[in-house]
Amino acid sequence: MTLLPLDIDGPAAPPRTNGELVFAAPWESRAFGLAMALHDGGLFEWEDFRRQLIAAVARAEAAGGEFSYYRCWLEALQTLLDSSGVVDRASVDGRAAELACRPAGHDHRHDHDHPH
């Protein structure tokens, strides 16, 4: 397991509190972990991901509205996987649409730490 020196400053630096990474919602940490695991598996060079991330952050800032770093992160990851033919955008959207149709109460995994 290779640990990467994540950016501390600049557009590609993830949100932190007192130096520690912060995830505002579970999906943010999943998106983070996906990029780390795929890079570890040799699917892409970190610098290629970082370049896509910086581009996605620039697009989001130009578009205005509420900024979400991990939206940009997911966008960068999808762009990279789409262009390399690993997972195209249409299949992600298709699967997401299927997931949206699940019955209420079964809309997420149950191995995390909040009760319901």
């Binding site: 397991m1 640990l3 020196p5 994540l6 501390i8 400053d9 932190r16 007192n18 130096g19 520690e20 990474l21 995830f23 919602a25 999906w27 940490s29 999943r30 998106a31 983070f32 972990g33 996906l34 780390m36 695991a37 795929l38 570890d40 598996g41 699917l43 896509q52 581009a55 697009r59 979400s68 991990y70 939206r71 997911l74 966008e75 990851l77 999808q78 762009t79 996987l81 789409d82 262009s83 690993v86 997972v87 955008r89 299949s91 992600v92 959207d93 298709g94 699967r95 997401a96 649409a97 299927e98 997931l99 949206a100 997420h108 995994r109």
Partner: protein
């Protein structure tokens, strides 16, 4: 450069879940490995490592002696080392001697034990004032030291990183090593605060 993608109308939570599911099905991602990455970055590469070192030093005199003798080796005993932690010197605070760590050149930081540096550590004003007027700076951090306490400022470099061993707080005599860990903050290990008192 790829063309600008068309925005998806699927919620980001579901897209993330869908992407993970597809990658797992293709055998490209193992959910357990994913969990491990998240945990490592969010929790393990943080001040918790340093806090464990300090708590052990407070409860194990032999370890404390080894830590002050050769910080790098003693920290490695607990399994903590990394790309920026090659040489770590541990500075022991006492009732009459207080250490403050700074990096005047950049923001060198012992991240295998302290995690990623907090933003104030990289602030040019902090770096300059830590050397020029450490006592006033510490007061702004809420740490007023009496005139009997000598303050020594250590400047980190790319070769040597410093970590402060804070004093064990009063009233913690009955606490175990595990119970002491949460009292040790990142601030205490850089010398801008003391270790917390038990609640």
């Amino acid at each position: 450069m790829s063309p600008i993608p068309a925005p998806s109308d699927q919620p980001v939570e579901l897209r993330t879940e869908a992407l993970e599911a597809l990658l797992v099905e293709k055998g490209l991602v193992d959910p357990a490995v994913l969990d491990k990455f998240i945990k490592t970055y969010a929790e393990d590469v943080g001040p918790l490592n340093g806090a464990k070192v300090v708590a052990k030093a407070w409860t194990d005199p032999d370890y404390r002696a080894r830590l002050l003798e050769d910080g790098t080796a003693a920290i490695a005993e607990l399994g903590f080392k990394g790309p920026q932690g090659e040489c770590i010197i541990v500075l022991e605070n006492t009732p009459t001697l207080h250490h403050l760590v700074v990096c005047t050149l950049c923001s060198c930081y012992p991240w295998p034990v302290l995690g990623l540096p907090p933003s104030w550590y990289k602030d040019p004003a902090y770096r300059a004032r830590a050397v020029r007027e450490p006592r006033a700076l510490l007061e702004e951090f809420g740490l007023a030291l009496g005139p009997e306490v000598e303050i020594k400022v250590y400047d980190s470099s790319s070769e040597v990183r410093y970590m402060v061993l804070p004093e064990r707080p009063a009233g913690t005599e009955g606490l175990s090593e595990e119970e002491l860990v949460p009292l040790v903050t990142r601030e205490a290990m850089t010398g801008v605060a003391k270790a917390k008192s038990p609640a």
